[in-house]
């Protein structure tokens, strides 16, 4: 039975990495197999699902989906392009900054889906290749998403699995290193791409002529939607002192959004990406199978035998191991499997450094390959539809060095500030 659940889980990971089918189908197939072979009872399968993660995801999908209609994110992307005044380095920094910021407070996948299509249009206007800009944005989205509990799926899973870690804890412990890493990486990318992205001043004038606020003037419920989004973000900051789970904050925010800024509830609920929700359900059940069969305990024991009693070694192995695992498969299933391992390692007492190491490893590792994070896959899909696909190797040539630099920064950060 133990071997069977390992085979099912690894088979699902390989299937997702090599796109044998839609990742949701593969995860649900794996979950179904785990229950059908009896590795997990039906009751255990339901208990294995982290409903808080799903609540947080659903709530944010509704809030962000309805706010997106207002055109405010399009406005932000266009304004930063105009503020760059045709200067390549400034454009790269501003696009990285706005993508990182949106990723931190919405989520990185949403940020990419909002920013990349506008970037394709800007590149078209400026007559430059969009691929370097999109690469900068993908990298910024994965680093920016590291900064908060809601920014990247691995952080959402960690934050909901460990209620001791509040939204503010994530910001205090991860935002500084994420901002520093973003600055270092963006500087490198700007130096690397500045000649390739040289902008003709005449073309830059075309961007200045865009009426950035036009869509906001036409959209319904702009003020209400923005007020609810901001109120929800404030709610996240206050969830710990108010003893409310982040999932409750998101769901209350979504409910208020439905009440004040949605005429048609059915239409509003279409913003929920059910494929993603069922993907998470499938993953949780498969990981539940690994836990029930004692596989997680064995992995944790093996892990402890390598790191011994060294807290620093443990955190660094988690950091680099999570990055490697995320790069090879996908940081969401990898984190889902790692959370119970880190939990088991902490039998002697709660140590938040291990959780920050996991968050940094999984999120930064998401930049290594084109399949490592959902945002990368989404950006690659948009580029492909636009007739300018990016190959695995071209992404790797930029993503891998960026990941290595990010991990070196994270290593020093953990050693100096957390261990």
């Amino acid at each position: 039975m133990e071997v069977a659940v390992i085979v099912i889980f690894l088979g699902a990971l390989v299937g997702i990495a090599f796109e044998w089918g839609h990742r949701t189908k593969i995860a649900l197939l794996g979950a179904g197999a785990v229950v059908l072979i009896g590795a997990l009872s039906e009751e255990q399968a339901i208990e294995a699902v982290d409903w808080s993660t799903l609540g947080l995801l659903v709530g944010m999908m509704i809030i962000v989906g309805l706010t997106e209609r207002t055109g405010v994110f399009t406005y932000l992307a266009l304004r930063v392009a105009q503020l760059s005044r045709g200067r390549t380095v400034r454009l790269i920094f501003l696009l990285a900054g706005v993508t990182g910021l949106l990723s931190a407070f919405l989520d990185n996948l949403t940020a990419i889906l909002l920013v990349v299509p506008i970037t394709l249009l800007l590149a078209d206007l400026l007559k430059i290749s969009p691929i370097p800009l999109v690469l900068v944005e993908v990298i910024a989205s994965n680093i920016g998403g590291t900064a908060t509990l809601i920014g990247d799926p691995p952080n959402i899973m960690i934050g909901t699995a460990r209620p001791e870690l509040s939204f503010l804890d994530f910001i205090v412990n991860l935002a500084p290193v994420a901002i520093f890493t973003l600055l270092v990486v963006t500087t490198g990318l700007a130096l690397f791409y500045r000649r390739q992205l040289a902008i003709d001043p005449e073309r830059a004038g075309e961007v200045d002529k865009l009426d950035a606020a036009a869509d906001m003037r036409e959209a319904p419920y702009v003020k209400r939607s923005l007020a609810v989004l901001l109120g929800t973000i404030v709610g996240f900051f206050l969830h710990a002192p108010l003893h409310i789970e982040p999932a409750v904050v998101a769901l209350v925010g979504a409910t208020v959004m439905l009440l004040v800024a949605a005429d048609d509830v059915e239409n509003a609920l279409e913003r929920v990406e059910w494929a993603t929700i069922f993907f998470f359900i499938g993953l949780f059940v498969m990981v539940g199978g690994l836990e029930a069969q004692g596989v997680i305990d064995q992995v944790a024991e093996g892990f402890a035998s390598v790191t011994g009693d060294s807290r620093a070694l443990e955190a660094l192995v988690i950091l680099w191991g999570a990055a490697l695992g995320s790069a090879v498969v996908d940081n969401i299933p990898f984190t889902a499997a790692m959370i119970p391992v880190v939990d088991t390692l902490q039998d002697d007492g709660f140590d938040d450094a291990a959780w920050w190491a996991l968050a940094l490893g999984a999120c930064f590792g998401g930049n290594a390959t084109i399949i490592a994070a959902a945002a990368n896959v989404a950006a690659s899909g948009v580029l492909e539809r636009s007739g300018q696909p990016i190959s695995f190797v071209r992404f790797l040539a930029v993503g891998l060095p960026v990941t290595l630099v990010s991990l070196v920064i994270a290593t020093f950060y953990l050693l100096i500030f957390q261990l």
Partner: protein, 149 residues
């Protein structure tokens, strides 16, 4: 007998070997919102005015959520129209929804209500293309028939 047998159908189709420009021209001449793409007499795709618009627009149009900020024409539009002209229509067609010639008028009505297309290909028992049925023509003919009986 089904209502469809008496409704005028339009022979609006192109072979699968046609180019985007040829399909666009035939579509314009047909005055319909869509035409059938045929391979050996069978419908393999549908080329509608939506495919025409998407074809001549930047390929990222479908991913853009807002465009009101664009007050002037994109300079690349003209280039795009030139580029797409020689591409095969099969690259731009959508999966077809067909209506059976011997089916009931209510079935045809249901297809039109649940599909985006303003015209659908009608096929015979052997699945061979008979002609394009316009939603407008169908709706008015059906109303007229029902009023007469």
């Amino acid at each position: 007998m089904s209502t469809l047998h008496d409704i005028p159908l339009v022979e609006a189709s192109v072979p699968a070997s046609a180019t985007f420009a040829e399909a666009a021209r035939t579509l314009g001449e047909s005055k319909l919102s869509g035409l059938a793409v045929l391979d050996g007499g069978r419908v393999v795709g549908l080329f509608t005015d939506e495919e025409l618009l998407l074809g001549i627009s930047p390929p990222y149009l479908n991913d853009l959520k807002h465009t009101a900020f664009l007050e002037r024409e994109l300079p690349s539009l003209r280039e795009r129209a030139r580029e797409v002209a020689g591409e095969p229509v099969t690259k731009h067609m959508r999966k077809p929804t067909t209506i059976e010639l011997d089916g009931s008028s209510l079935h045809a009505a249901e297809r039109f209500v649940h599909c985006d297309e303003g015209a659908l290909p009608v096929v015979d028992d052997d699945d061979r293309f008979v002609g394009m049925l316009s939603r407008t023509v169908f709706a008015h003919t059906l109303l007229k028939r029902l009023s007469e009986t």
